[in-house]
């Protein structure tokens, strides 16, 4: 059985990105379950400290490619380093973040290796798969679980015949956890100067404008989220008022973002951020599976909806049947009175 490999992304400050630490935590579980090593690859410039910071997350081997041409990230140099590494190491499983970097790199590598790649997984498990036609059984296979098509279904994808099995996962979906602060691993240098070629320089970065992140709802303890049922951008203002009163942040469904009710950074769900607040107040949200995938781990859920049968009500601790535009002002009043 071959190993589990995580492609690690770097932040602007040259540290390992949260998404990659989350993948290492999941990768550690998978590697332990399979009885194999957890490996990581870090490609960048002056990344020794970043590479070593991976050991507490249970990484056994870190492959390090250190070269000025690898920072900031560009597709071709990273593709060349990581593609070659996977070809040589033949890992069983490779995980990438479903970030702008991972979604740029992973498909190109999957095409090069002619292997499968499942995007935006919400769960990864090891299991058995039996081919319905041939009856052939595949043990210790990666179950790549993701909500699919239209919102009412969850699909389990397998790649029984080809290796590696590759998947991308969005930031915040998996938990980041230190495995063992004293865990020791190896650093294995890759000869980047020998691998990279002039052809890898076909795309040049002319300039970069890094924005301070304006909105970050990922770690908000309270979230007031609105769906398409809020009706308009103006009505969304009430959610901002409500959130400000109770010390929360405003989130939204994809439908609400697509309708222009609020900024894309507030989108919660499979293709947005995943949140685990202590309180989630869903206003005018029906509860498509993609949205629930991003919030169903919330400690308490309140749903405010005119439809008593909205799917989200099934996972809500409290359902208030009514129009959010009426209920929220009443809720705000009740809250103010009880604070006195």
């Amino acid at each position: 059985m071959n190993n589990v490999l995580v492609y690690c992304e770097l932040t602007e400050a040259n540290q390992i990105a949260d998404i990659s630490l989350e993948l290492c935590t999941k990768g550690r579980q998978l590697a332990t379950r399979l009885g194999v090593r957890l490996q990581a690859v870090v490609a960048g410039h002056q990344v020794d400290a970043a590479a070593r910071s991976l050991f507490p997350y249970g990484v056994d081997d870190v492959f390090v490619a250190d070269d000025a041409r690898l920072s900031p990230y560009r597709t071709l140099p990273h593709f060349h380093i990581v593609g070659k590494l996977i070809q040589e190491q033949e890992p069983d499983i490779v995980l990438f973040g479903a970030s702008s970097v991972g979604r740029d790199l992973a498909p190109r590598i999957a095409s090069f290796l002619r292997c499968g790649l499942t995007a935006d997984c919400t769960a990864l498990e090891i299991g058995s798969h039996t081919d319905a036609k041939t009856g052939k059984q595949y043990d210790n296979t990666l179950m790549q679980i993701r909500p699919a098509f239209g919102g009412n279904i969850v699909a389990t994808i397998v790649t029984p015949e080809t290796r590696p099995q590759m998947a991308t996962v969005r930031e915040g979906v998996m938990k980041k956890e230190v495995f063992d602060p004293a865990h020791k691993g190896n650093i294995i240098g890759l000869p980047a100067d020998k691998i990279l070629t002039p052809a890898d320089e076909a795309v040049r970065i002319l300039s970069r404008e890094i924005e301070e992140q304006r909105i970050n709802i990922k770690n908000a303890p309270i979230i007031v989220a609105g769906g398409y049922g809020m009706g308009s951008k103006e009505n969304f203002q009430l959610l901002h008022d409500f959130a400000r009163l109770i010390g929360g942040s405003v989130g939204a469904t994809r439908a609400a973002v697509d309708a222009g009710f609020c900024e894309g950074e507030r989108q919660i769900g499979q293709t947005g951020v995943t949140v685990r607040p202590k309180l989630y107040i869903a206003c005018g949200i029906s509860g498509a599976v993609q949205h629930r995938a991003g919030m169903d781990q919330s400690a308490k859920i309140i749903s405010i909806n005119t439809d008593p049968d909205a799917p989200i009500n099934a996972i809500a601790d409290y359902t208030i049947v009514g129009d959010a535009m009426t209920v929220i002002p009443m809720f705000m009043n009740a809250y103010k009175n009880n604070l006195k």
């Binding site: 597709t75 095409s111 292997c115 995007a119 309180l279 009500n313 409290y318 208030i320 809250y335």
Partner: protein
């Protein structure tokens, strides 16, 4: 300059029901209303903008799908594309992104040398964003993903502003290259009345696996490493749930409870 746009006709995911899926986990496309994948339309606009700036360029639209996908090639013609075809063959059916990108890259290769390929970042029915980079790899082209703005183009290079996680960057690629376009890019121009009149009756050519040079083993379900093992209609784990009427008393009690539990 020879420009290709890769486009997909997709089910309108705003109007999807549970019976949109077949028992084997593939999509029952026949049952659904369809649209021109939105980001592919924006890719078409970027291609037409390049053509505006580089007179003498041609824009060819390629789509893979059932014969009815010809509708979007026609739509692209009305908006300014020079030609296009549908890649349609039962042997393509059930393809995952790897088998899809193989068929499409062979179709592009059948056109001879191409300077620029544009496609949407992702299609709204799958959201995988994989086919663009995979076509680029198969054609050994540099890729620029997440393009928001065409900054400059010449017969040697293209400059694009692309989206990063927390910001943007301007990159310049030598041609030929492939560009994937996001929803932040300019919307596509409308169909021209005179083009509507001129091309309304024109047949859109259909090409099959026999028209492009392909290894049949790498097509369709056979050429797809990913398999759908299981599809579940989501049955929610029922929590102990309390339904409240929207009265001042109920909300008073609820908010008091949340404050006492230190949740609010």
């Amino acid at each position: 300059m020879k420009i290709v746009v890769l486009a997909k006709q997709v089910p309108d995911t705003h109007n999807v029901t549970a019976d949109a899926m077949n028992a084997d986990g593939t999509v029952n496309r026949a049952a659904l209303p369809t649209v021109f994948n939105p980001e592919d339309l924006q890719a078409l606009e970027m291609a037409l903008t390049v053509k505006d700036q580089m007179p003498g360029s041609t824009v060819t639209v390629i789509t893979m799908g059932p014969p009815r996908a010809a509708e979007i090639v026609k739509d692209a013609r009305f908006r300014g594309a020079d030609d296009g075809f549908v890649l349609s063959d039962m042997r393509f059916a059930g393809a995952d992104t790897l088998a899809t990108s193989y068929a499409i890259s062979q179709a592009v290769a059948s056109l001879g040398s191409v300077d620029l390929i544009f496609c949407g970042r992702q299609a709204i029915d799958g959201d995988t964003a994989q086919v663009g980079p995979q076509v680029a790899e198969k054609l050994e082209l540099p890729q620029i993903t997440y393009a928001e703005e065409l900054v400059a183009v010449s017969d040697k290079a293209i400059t694009i502003r692309r989206r990063l996680e927390h910001g943007t960057e301007q990159v310049q690629a030598q041609l030929p290259a492939l560009v994937t376009v996001t929803s932040a890019a300019p919307e596509c121009r409308y169909p021209h009345a005179h083009r509507l009149l001129r091309y309304a009756k024109e047949e859109v050519p259909v090409r099959t696996a026999d028209d492009i040079s392909v290894d049949i083993e790498r097509l369709g379900m056979k050429g797809s490493p990913t398999k759908v093992k299981k599809i579940e209609n989501v049955v929610l784990a029922h929590k102990e749930s309390v339904t409240l009427d929207a009265t001042a008393e109920a909300l008073d009690e609820l908010s008091r409870g949340l404050i006492e539990e230190h949740i609010l």
